[in-house]
């Protein structure tokens, strides 16, 4: 009677012992790498109740961010505009467009629109829009090229490590405050010197302590 298990099977335990750490390391590494917000969160593009196109409004029509998101300069949160803001144009422009039906209904019935949040930080992290905008961090730095997005998509990981990269050295993202909302802005040749000078003059000191963002 032939052996049920050929001789090579004797080596299986050995391979298993040798291979298990590798598999475990690979699994941990995989989760660590592909499970990070860079992979899980970037590209998040939920369906919105109104097919509002930033590409059209910002890219083509050149609306300034502050036209709708008016509170970013003074408040911690960036407001999503009330239906009123939409209707201030759309009671004249494209009055009958089927795409705008939800907006018109909201306006007529007085029921708010329910937008889906794209850039969602954990509840224990307190981001302050005004502080960043007034310091001169461009909208693009966190939200990406909104002017090229038909539907808003998360462009950056918004992870703590990503935040800290900039907090440790904000010069690369710093702009003159009047250029904060510009979508296509190229740093001038002397940007690095300008940024170093500005950080010094205006006392820009992004917190790196836990208490800066966690309360």
């Amino acid at each position: 009677m032939a052996q049920i298990f050929p001789k090579w099977t004797l080596r299986i335990p050995l391979y298993a012992v040798l291979g298990a750490p590798l598999v475990a390391a690979a699994a941990a590494g995989g989760v660590w790498y592909w499970g990070s917000p860079e992979f899980t969160d970037v590209g998040y593009r939920p369906k919105q109740p109104v097919p509002y196109s930033h590409e059209l409004h910002v890219g083509t029509l050149k609306l300034d961010c502050l036209y709708c998101h008016a509170s970013v300069e003074s408040s911690a949160v960036a407001n999503v505009p009330p239906t009123q803001t939409c209707m201030s144009c759309h009671h004249v422009v494209r009055r009958d467009s089927p795409l705008l039906r939800a907006v018109r209904e909201s306006w007529e019935r007085g029921t708010p629109l329910r937008w889906v949040r794209v850039h969602n930080l954990p509840d224990y992290a307190y981001f302050q829009h005004a502080a960043h905008v007034r310091a001169g961090i461009g909208c693009v730095s966190c939200h990406g090229r909104i002017d090229q997005m038909v539907e808003v998509t998360q462009a950056e990981p918004l992870s703590m490590g990503w935040c800290l990269d900039c907090h440790r050295d904000p010069s690369g993202h710093l702009r003159p405050t009047e250029a904060v909302t510009e979508m296509e802005w190229f740093p001038p040749r002397d940007h690095d010197e300008w940024a170093a000078r500005t950080i010094d003059e205006r006392g820009i000191a992004p917190p790196e302590d836990c208490s800066g963002c966690h309360r």
Binding site: S75, A76, T111, R114, Y124, G212, R215
Partner: protein, 1030 residues
């Protein structure tokens, strides 16, 4: 005089080394502290663990979808993320406190005092702090009930319209209104309109706990019912006779502030007033006294009489015929002190004392030249005063069938009226009874109609403080539960119609189309109509901008505030002596039962407020209960121990409560707080404690003489915190007499020897630039009133854990107030010691955290990072101050949705398994810092205020940048009294204390010490200090 640490004790058990408290002192965590609550079996636990494990994996994969719901039409001036402040006024009986309420996106979240309101001066009581929770109380009455069935407000209005002609026909002879006493121009105007419409109708003020006896006594003495307005800051000698003017008395917030002002000793040559207290129960005011004499209730009137005769001032009180039980040397010293400070002394008596005592106090104040200097009288305008006699007469008429319609405005007589008046029987004899109340309470459940009342944060109104300031009650939110205010109800009854649709400019334009029949006036219309009259009489504000100014400020700041009432010339006391004096039973076991207004639930109105229920009482440190408080000697005589259940019987009525032995109670006295034992109070209130109202009689509402107290045989555990977080045997609280302080200003700092070694750990920061936050707590100013504890809870989303969890030592308050007794347990001295996180620069907690969940930041804050914490609790183990709190459960998981509206959105709501602690209100620091940054400037001193600091009525807490030498906190830290807790451990705390000072009278200072049973060594040393300076 400075004391050795071992002389202080937190509880008698701890002092005597009772083994039952050893676990609290020795163990970091109570035995079983990490066990699950009872009722969870091992099997169900394993099931839960299995289920949550399998679900945890799935849940983690799902991205939480959050919606953003913007306005359709955005209100003006409202930016999401920026809280707004509105001024309003909290009416409380005949008084009112001005408030500033924070509103986040339309939901009020936090209450602060209004700095320009004289009854608040920027501070608040614990009640005002906690009233925000009442607003969201899910147990509040939510619908109009008719015979217990759901009805509508319109149905009620129609029903009233049907009843109206009958009452109009007989001038309202069969109509009665029983209201809680108030002082409000609009309510008074509507009551006047009601009286004009129904001249025969009865309007009666009724409240179970109030100032009726003071009003009657001062009416007899001065000719007008009035309340005293105290100025202890102008007095050198303050005498509180059975009075708790610092906590539960009317006007306590402003009184506490002024009292503390009179005792601030900025430098070693400063002076301070002296407080004497004579009382039967151990009140907060008594605990703050330099000399306190525990005295049976029936001895207090004779004491006042004896004091009067010693001072040669006629009090109208009969001297006790029997032998005086009080210490004559004590009386002599008090009289000498008063004589030495004529015109700069102050006497006040509490609301439990008979009218004759108040008249006598008036005579004493007059004789000593204090009137108009340290004691002023309030002009009570626009008020309905409490009148128990009229109330009893009305109940009698109801029983006789003479009343067909009864209106109850906020009153709850079925719970709190004296039993012999039989309110339930009287109510049953009325055809139509209408109850307006926040809860469908004991009375609301029995009336024909129950109408849900709007909370004061939901409705327009106005209220007058006892100093005469009129404030506007401005709603912060539309009524959550279709509630209406008393103003709106009275507008219906009094027939006040809405103004005609032709509105003047600037008025609200959103009034609906003109109705065919006159609509009753809305609350706003009624208040506006009153204020048109008020502002019309004040010339400078006659312009229409005046109203907006008043709403903005929350009050009318003009000459209409206090003006003294004319005093009847040559008043002597004319009131009859108290009936109860000398009525003491001869029986040995008979005790006096004193009924105390609760510093937590007051008369029962706050019984459904979980914050107040869980607030440890200042003196007893008891939560969630109203035990029978007894003096140690009395308890020993009766053979009672703590937590023994006793039956207290008066006549044929009795209650069963556990015993709590309170040092400093008068012998022969048992005291129980009112307001507990609710049956229809709500899910928090019901079943907590025992209802003492049934033992009460209308004649002597606060004292039941000759009760029998007997042990029932069983015991009930009390959830108390007096032994929690002990810092055993170390000089935690430091104090001295004023004399000793003058001789040795540095006494507090020199109480321990700080080793000149360096700490083991390397310090990460230099703390030499930027803002460096620090705090001082002045133990001399702190009265122990607990306002800071509730303010902290409201600001920082601190959860309530419930009675069982408090018993296991799991209470979550970030700021606790330790209470220490010292000396003789019959008349101990008391020190209150608020303990927040010390924010050590060299923090022991940080060294032991395995996951760096607690670290330091550059501004000196010891930061707790919730999302890193894995719950090892090593940090709590290593904290010498015991200020860290651990979430043994997800305490907020089952919080009703509506209560979550109160949460501060700027503070993380913590989950299970996470450590937490005082953060110095880091969210406030950040908010102000960023605001200053946006204005491109640095922070000014006083701009960042912590919640505890802001609420403190006596301004005991200073907070700010310690590097800024001009800041209030840096100056406080430079005072010689400044010391840090356990500085010998080299933790370098940022929170420091200013030592307490006492100002004993020379003649008593010596005897005081002798009586104090101080351990010989330390007592001797302290007296030597005193002699040095003398």
């Amino acid at each position: 005089m400075s004391r050795a640490a071992q002389e202080y004790w937190r509880s008698r058990e701890q002092r005597d080394g009772d083994p039952s408290v050893r676990p609290f002192v020795e163990r970091e965590f109570q035995e079983g502290a990490s066990e699950l609550p009872e009722g969870v079996s091992r099997r169900s636990l394993i099931q839960l663990v299995g289920a949550s494990l399998s679900l945890a994996g799935l849940a983690a994969c799902r991205r939480p979808v959050e919606h953003i719901v913007p306005f359709v039409r955005a209100p003006e001036d409202m930016l999401p993320g920026i809280p707004r402040l509105f001024a309003t006024t909290m009416p409380s009986g005949l008084d009112a406190v001005g408030l500033l309420v924070t509103s986040h996106e339309g939901r009020p979240t936090k209450i602060e005092g209004n700095e320009v309101h004289p009854a608040s001066l920027g501070a608040t009581s614990a009640w005002a702090q906690a009233s925000i929770l009442d607003l969201y109380d899910p147990d509040r009455s939510q619908q109009v009930l008719h015979q217990g069935q759901r009805a509508s407000w319109q149905a009620f209005v129609d029903a009233w319209r049907a009843l109206e002609p009958e009452h109009l026909a007989d001038g309202g002879a069969r109509l009665a209104v029983i209201t809680r006493p108030f002082a409000s121009p609009t309510l008074a105007r509507l009551i006047a309109a009601l009286r004009a419409r129904f001249p025969q109708a009865r309007v009666v003020g009724y409240e179970p706990v109030g100032d009726e006896l003071i009003l009657r006594g001062l009416e007899a003495a001065t000719g007008a019912p009035t309340l005293p307005l105290l100025h202890p800051e102008r007095a050198r000698v303050v005498v509180a006779i059975d009075s708790d003017f610092l906590l539960t008395g009317t006007g306590s917030v402003a009184h506490a502030r002024r009292f503390a002002d009179g005792r601030r000793v900025a430098s070693s040559d400063g002076t301070m007033s002296r407080l004497w207290s004579i009382e039967a129960v151990h009140s907060l005011t008594g605990a703050n006294a330099d000399h306190r004499l525990p005295l049976r209730s029936d001895q207090i009137a004779p004491f006042v009489a004896a004091l009067g005769s010693r001072l040669g001032i006629g009090t109208g009180l009969a001297l006790d015929a029997g032998p005086a039980t009080f210490d004559s040397a004590w009386l002599e010293a008090l009289a000498a002190d008063l004589e030495a400070h004529r015109g700069a002394s102050l006497l006040t008596a509490g609301r439990r004392q008979a009218p004759a005592v108040h008249a006598a106090i008036h005579a004493l104040n007059q004789g000593l030249g204090n009137l108009g200097v340290t004691v002023e009288y309030a002009r009570l305008a626009d008020a309905v005063l409490p009148d128990t006699t009229a109330f009893a007469a009305t109940l009698e008429s109801m029983r006789a069938g003479e009343i067909s319609t009864l209106l109850l405005l906020g009153a709850n007589p079925l719970y709190d009226a004296p039993a012999e008046l039989d309110a339930a029987g009287a109510l049953a004899a009325v055809e139509t009874s209408i109850h307006l109340g926040l809860h469908t309470d004991e009375t609301g459940a029995a009336t024909t109609w129950h109408l849900p009342e709007a909370h004061f944060l939901e409705a327009w109104g106005d209220a007058r403080a006892i100093d005469g300031t009129v404030g506007v009650v401005q709603p912060l939110i539309a009524p959550l539960y279709e509630g209406r205010s008393a103003i709106e109800l009275l507008a219906v009854i009094a027939g006040e119609a809405a103004p005609p649709p032709t509105l003047p400019e600037g008025e609200t334009a959103d009034a609906a189309a003109p109705p065919p029949t006159p609509e009753p006036a809305s609350g706003y219309d009624a208040v506006r109509a009153t204020w048109r009259q008020i502002l019309g009489t004040t010339q400078s504000l006659a312009l229409d901008g005046g109203w907006e100014r008043v709403v903005h400020d929350g009050l009318l700041s003009s000459a209409t505030s206090w003006a003294g009432i004319p005093l009847a010339a040559g008043t002597g006391a004319t009131a009859a002596p108290p009936a109860s004096a000398g009525a003491r039973s001869a029986s040995d076991v008979a005790l006096d039962l004193v009924l105390v207004d609760s510093p937590r639930v007051f008369d029962g109105r706050y019984a459904n407020n979980a914050w107040l229920q869980e607030l440890p009482d200042a003196i007893t440190k008891v939560t969630w209960d109203n035990p029978a408080m007894l003096a140690p000697a009395t308890a020993a005589e009766l053979g009672l121990r703590n937590e023994d259940l006793v039956r207290i019987a008066a006549g044929d009525r009795q209650i069963e409560v556990p015993v709590w032995i309170v040092p400093g109670m008068a012998p022969g006295t048992v005291a129980v707080e009112l307001g507990y034992g609710r049956a229809f109070g709500g899910r928090v209130a019901d079943g907590v404690g025992a209802n003492v109202y049934p033992l009460r009689s209308a004649d002597a509402p606060y004292l039941v003489a000759g009760v029998r107290v007997e042990r029932s045989g069983s015991r009930r555990e009390i959830a108390q915190t007096q032994d929690h977080g002990s810092m055993e045997g170390r000089p935690i609280v430091r104090e001295a007499t004023l004399e000793a302080y003058r001789a040795h200003p540095e006494f507090a700092r020199k109480a321990v020897e700080v080793p000149h070694t360096r700490a083991l750990w390397k310090e990460e920061w230099s703390y030499e630039q930027g803002y460096q936050w620090g705090m001082t707590i002045d133990l001399n100013a702190c009265t122990g009133c607990n306002a800071c504890v509730i303010a902290c809870q409201a600001e920082n989303n601190v959860p309530v854990v419930g009675r069982d969890e408090v018993r296991r030592g799991r209470e979550m308050h970030w700021l606790r107030i330790d209470r220490y007794f010292a000396g003789d347990e019959a008349a101990p001295q008391t020190v209150f010691h608020p303990v927040p996180c010390m924010q050590c620069e060299n923090a022991p907690c940080e060294q032991v955290c395995p996951v760096t969940a607690t670290v330091h930041d550059a501004e000196g804050l010891n930061v707790m990072v919730y999302n890193r914490c894995i719950g090892t609790r090593y940090c709590l183990n290593n904290c010498p101050y015991k200020v860290r709190r651990f979430n043994y459960f997800n305490f907020t998981k089952h919080t009703p949705q509506v209560l979550r509206l109160q949460n501060n959105p700027d503070v993380t709501v913590r989950s299970r398994g996470v450590m937490e602690k005082c953060t110095y209100c880091t969210q406030r620091i950040n908010e102000r810092k960023i605001a200053a940054k946006l204005e491109e400037r640095t922070l000014r001193d006083g701009e960042v205020r912590t919640a505890c600091q802001q609420a403190c009525p006596s301004q005991a807490i200073q907070f700010g940048n310690i590097l800024d030498g001009a800041s209030a906190v840096a100056q406080a830290k430079a005072e010689p009294r400044n010391y840090t807790l356990l500085d010998e451990l080299l933790t370098k705390p940022r929170t420091s204390y200013l030592a307490k000072l006492r100002n004993p009278h020379q003649e008593l200072a010596e005897t005081h010490q002798v009586e104090g049973h101080a351990p010989a060594g330390s007592g001797q040393a302290t007296r030597d200090h005193g002699d040095d300076s003398a």
